[in-house]
């Protein structure tokens, strides 16, 4: 069972995540968008969307630090356990609350504002559900596990993080996860389910974060000849010279 939960299922989700994105980008470049609903409603979005997105950026940053950076590195630069813990909990709480409050506002908006509700797809609903579960479990781990110490003290940097790095290195050690508290287990499983859903939802817009805008020239010129004329592929025998 633990082999399935902590080795097979995560790799399956990872495979769906990677292949799914490649497929979506090839097949559905046109559908690759934020699917913004700002045109319908502005007031709630102006509050909820930045809260959620900036909160999520903090959450992702926290996970990168917590999961990918081994304890030996932070020890080496002189951050002791107490200071690390303090930083992680405070940063995690702020980012998590921002994301959760933002998400609550956005879901409330989606349900109550007529046009936004009618523009919500089934995939959106599934995505919102899984996203809420993942974030709530994550918050629970931060509060219950790290602050209140319910169910005994658990140092995820010796357990979950090590497993995650072994997972990314393709030498997964499932035993590390079996010892983790149930909150962490559920959080990890839900997160992998979210990764598997990712390529089929509007979440793909994360990967088009337009950082290139900072360096490109303002006005883009493009020649008509760069792409094949028309959107259909050239027929056999009609290929353009030099293609």
């Amino acid at each position: 069972m633990s082999l399935f939960l902590w080795v097979i299922f995560p790799y399956l989700c990872l495979a769906v995540f990677v292949v799914g994105h490649a497929w979506r980008y090839r097949y559905d470049a046109f559908g690759w968008t934020t699917r913004s609903s700002q045109l319908y409603e502005d007031r709630l979005l102006r509050l909820g969307s930045p809260l959620f997105h900036f909160g999520m950026l903090g959450v992702v940053g926290g996970h990168v630090i917590g999961l990918l950076i081994p304890r030996s590195w932070t020890d080496a630069v002189g951050i002791d356990e107490h200071r690390y813990h303090l930083g992680a909990v405070i940063g995690g709480l702020i980012a998590g609350v921002m994301a959760l409050v933002g998400l609550a506002i956005l879901v409330y908006r989606r349900r109550t504002v007529g046009p936004v509700f009618s523009a919500t797809t089934a995939m959106d609903k599934v995505m919102y559900l899984v996203l809420t579960v993942v974030i709530t479990l994550g918050m629970w781990n931060t509060i219950a596990g790290s602050t209140l110490n319910l169910g005994g003290e658990y140092d995820y940097r010796e357990g979950v993080s090590v497993w995650y790095r072994s997972f990314l290195a393709f030498q997964p050690d499932a035993s590390l996860m079996t010892q983790a508290p149930i909150g962490f287990k559920l959080h990890a499983l839900a997160a992998f389910a979210l990764f598997a859903l990712w390529p089929f939802t509007r979440l793909v817009h994360v990967f088009s974060a337009p950082v290139g805008y900072l360096t490109r020239p303002y006005i883009v010129y493009r020649s008509r000849d760069v792409r094949p004329l028309g959107t259909s592929a050239a027929r056999r025998g009609w290929e353009r010279v030099g293609s």
Binding site: F30, G31, Y40, D42, P115, F200, P210, L214, R224, G230
Partner: protein, 565 residues
């Protein structure tokens, strides 16, 4: 570089909206684009579409010249754009356009016998619920509700107390607007994804639908608000200058169908290296002259040689020499840019209307063809002239007066010729033109035939079989078809524009059976509804299915029988 540009002669616009309607039929008759008018016609004074779009204090569109003499986007630079990307602070809401609607027509046919007539109630196309229709793309047409609406015209700020808003006493003209296809487009500069580009061959500004990610910054960036957000596909859309048509030498749909024949399309050669310099001149009122100086004289052999060296084909240079647009802008200098103060260097220019002046002269019993009368009236009627100056020259009345005087001079000079009298050479001289020039200008404005109004060089013949509008390439086999649903409406490979708009419509309008079994995913736009079936979403749930059954019963059989007899 070469740019396809347009000039509209506002004196001839009768405000019939044919351009808007045919454009909508061709380009924006799809779900998600109900409120999108690539071409719209505004009554001025009036609010425009979307409402008060010209108020850049509020909407922050276009460019400004900063104190250090550099050009910057009014809504802020790259960092600010990325920081506000999660919620665009300056996006017009659907209420600033209007909430699209349809009517519940079925009650008209299904209603039981009652004492009162059944009413088809308006249904919102966003929510499907009953709604009050309170605004549209031309709600203040012909100064309708002018005391309430036109008085809030942004350009009347400062002169509102002097403008009489009584219907009979105010001046009025129509302003058809399409995308300006600017030389310095602020929409393209605002796009975080770099999806909006200017075609280097003909200067048409387009949105790459595969690269647009729906960040919506272009909508705020365009001061003319001519980029629209398709709320079904989540992508920005804009006027395409009918590129599939102009590539094969046809004028745009709006020009082709213009009843007043007031539109001119032609090439303008320009110096791309001087665009930024022209957009950065210190005074707003100098922008008109600055932009004119960017255009190159196609008769100049040095220009021709440079164009050839830059890879512009010979037939394009020849087309630039015959361009009616260049003639109206630089030879006769009667065309003016729309809102040059936005510093985008727009490329759809306008000949300001003399008609408000002529109308007032005629109504007050004066000879409206007499040069002296007209010149005096142009001087005396400050309000219309100031208003036109705010529209076309950033408030500088001198160029507007010059244009109106030329039009007045043409009017009175041509009256003499038409009455068989000798032309009065002092009339053209008084506006600094020769008799020959004035007559040729008259010819171009009044008599020019189709091929003189639209001088459009085709894209090159060796590429022609693949151009969209010709569609001699494989017609429909390799198009994936717009798979819809799971990943959101419109996902899947897009159809070529010409096929989607022409073949699909044709198929729906001519086929004997409901296309695709009568099912159309998403909402229904009645402009494209063929009336043969009741697509999903046309009527509220619970109504009996209207798709005819095939078992020989029902209305289908009845119709077949009738057709057979």
């Amino acid at each position: 570089m070469a740019q396809l540009a347009m000039v509209m002669n506002l004196d001839k616009c009768i405000g019939c909206h044919t351009c808007s309607v045919t454009c909508k039929q061709a380009w924006t008759n799809r779900a998600g684009t109900e409120y999108v008018w690539f071409n719209n016609v505004e009554t001025r004074p009036g609010l425009g579409y979307p409402r008060t779009y010209e108020n850049q204090q509020e909407w922050q569109g276009g460019w400004i010249r900063k104190a250090n003499g550099r050009l910057a986007l009014r809504s802020g630079g790259r960092f600010k754009k990325l920081l506000t990307i999660f919620s665009n602070p300056k996006l017009p809401s659907i209420q600033d356009y209007y909430e699209p609607w349809t009517y519940d027509y079925e009650t008209l046919t299904n209603s039981p016998a009652t004492d009162t007539f059944p009413v088809a109630r308006p249904k919102s196309l966003l929510t499907g619920k009953d709604m009050n229709v309170e605004w549209s793309a031309n709600w203040d047409d012909n100064l309708g509700g002018s005391r309430e609406h036109a008085a809030r015209d942004v350009l009347l700020a400062g002169i509102e107390d002097r403008v009489r808003m009584e219907f009979e006493k105010t001046f009025m003209f129509y302003l058809p607007r399409i995308c300006e296809h600017c030389l310095n487009p602020s929409c393209a500069a605002s796009c975080p994804s770099g999806a909006i580009y200017k075609r280097s061959e003909d200067g048409i500004v387009l949105v790459d639908q595969d690269r647009c990610r729906g960040w919506r910054m272009c909508v705020s960036g365009c001061p003319y608000k001519k980029i629209y957000f398709n709320h079904k596909t989540g992508k920005a859309e804009k006027c395409t200058f009918c590129y599939p048509r102009v590539e094969v030498g046809l004028p745009t749909v709006c020009s082709e169908t213009c009843v007043g024949r007031l539109r001119y399309i032609g090439l303008v050669l320009y110096d791309a290296d001087r665009v930024l310099e022209a957009a950065t001149v210190a005074e707003d009122s100098d922008l008109y002259e600055a932009q004119r100086s960017v255009f190159l004289d196609p008769e100049d052999p040095a220009v021709q040689a440079a164009a050839e060296a830059a890879g512009i084909p010979g037939d394009w240079i020849e087309a630039a020499r015959r361009s009616p647009v260049y003639a109206l802008i630089n030879r006769y200098r009667v065309a003016l840019p729309l809102h040059p103060e936005y510093r985008t260097l727009p490329m759809v220019w306008y000949i300001p209307p003399l008609s408000p002046v002529v109308d007032i002269m005629r109504e007050t019993g004066h000879d409206a063809e007499d040069r002296g009368n007209l010149f005096a009236a142009i001087d005396a009627l400050r309000i219309p002239v100031e208003y036109l100056a705010k529209l076309f020259t950033a408030g500088d009345v001198a160029p507007v007066e010059n244009v109106l005087r030329k039009l007045a001079a043409m009017r009175s000079y041509m009256r003499d010729l038409n009455l068989g009298r000798e032309g009065d050479a002092s009339i053209p001289a008084s506006v600094g033109m020769s008799e020959q020039d004035l007559y040729e200008m008259f010819r171009l404005l009044a008599l020019a035939k189709y091929d003189e109004r639209y001088v459009i060089p085709t894209a090159h013949a060796e590429q022609a079989h693949a151009l969209e509008e010709l569609a001699t390439d494989c017609p429909v086999s390799s198009y994936g078809g717009g798979q819809t649903g799971t990943l959101g409406e419109g996902s899947g490979k897009p159809l070529p524009v010409a096929v989607e708009n022409f073949r699909m419509l044709q198929e729906r309008q001519t086929s004997d059976q409901p296309v695709e079994g009568g099912r159309v995913t998403g909402r229904v736009n009645l402009l494209s509804w063929d009336g043969r079936s009741a697509p999903d979403g046309l009527f509220p749930p619970g109504a009996p299915p209207r798709v005819p059954r095939r078992d020989g019963d029902g209305p289908q059989a009845a119709r077949d029988g009738r057709e057979g007899s």
